[in-house]
Symmetry: C2
Subunit: 136 residues, 2 copies
């Protein structure tokens, strides 16, 4: 069940996704949903289920990716909040027309093949926001 | 319905909670659940509903609070993730026995009168974590 604009997942950046996944398994009884190496983004991702919620643990696999720079600058911790939407193209067009700074003006494929796009934290009071349209 | 260890809310720190609440109302069709001035913590909080999820927007009201220092150091953005638990005292005892660094070794009253306690980000790969036991 997808609710427009509910939190789809919270994403964390980690030096070692495996270690952080293990941490959440111990601390919050998380279970692993899936894992994926995404070479085109230079990241390795583990997706965890925590109760009814999802956590995404991201580790950079190359040195010059946005996530690698984020990790160097801010250290381990929060990376972004993803919100599920019904029609991502419609939402991106609306946000662009309202002056939001889009990182992705068109959706691209994220983990699990879902359509995703990021909104720049400069437009959102410091929070990197991802929109996700689930594709079955 | 409370699920053990689901995300209860994501909390953001803001220079002006009113402005950030308005931002989420515009961007993600958020609606306001409640607002509260908490003098003993030196913060003003607006709680928003976003679909099935909750966002907490926190603005410091005094200069020497932890949240004020956080805002000075990191700027606006993510502050913590709160997870709902069934028995917060039991969970705190377990986490302490496993070596987690607790900010609150005993629960205290948070917004809405619920029992809350924070775990230090040094123990959690850089993420400030709140546990919440709902009290009806």
């Amino acid at each position: 069940m997808i609710h427009k604009y509910s939190i789809d997942h919270v994403a964390l950046v980690a030096r070692d996704a495996e270690a952080v996944a293990q941490h959440y398994k111990n601390m919050l009884a998380a279970t692993e949903i899936t894992r994926d190496d995404i070479p085109e983004q230079g990241v390795f991702v583990i997706l965890l289920q925590v109760g009814d919620s999802k956590l995404e643990i991201i580790t950079p696999t190359v040195d010059d990716s946005g996530v690698a720079r984020f990790l160097d600058k801010r250290g381990e911790g929060f990376h972004h909040v993803a919100y599920a939407v019904e029609d991502i193209e419609l939402e991106l067009a609306r946000l662009e027309s309202e002056g939001y700074r889009l990182i992705d003006s068109k959706p691209r494929k994220g983990i699990g093949g879902h359509l995703v796009a990021f909104i720049h934290p400069e437009s959102t009071h410091g929070v990197l926001i991802e929109l996700v349209q689930h594709v079955d």
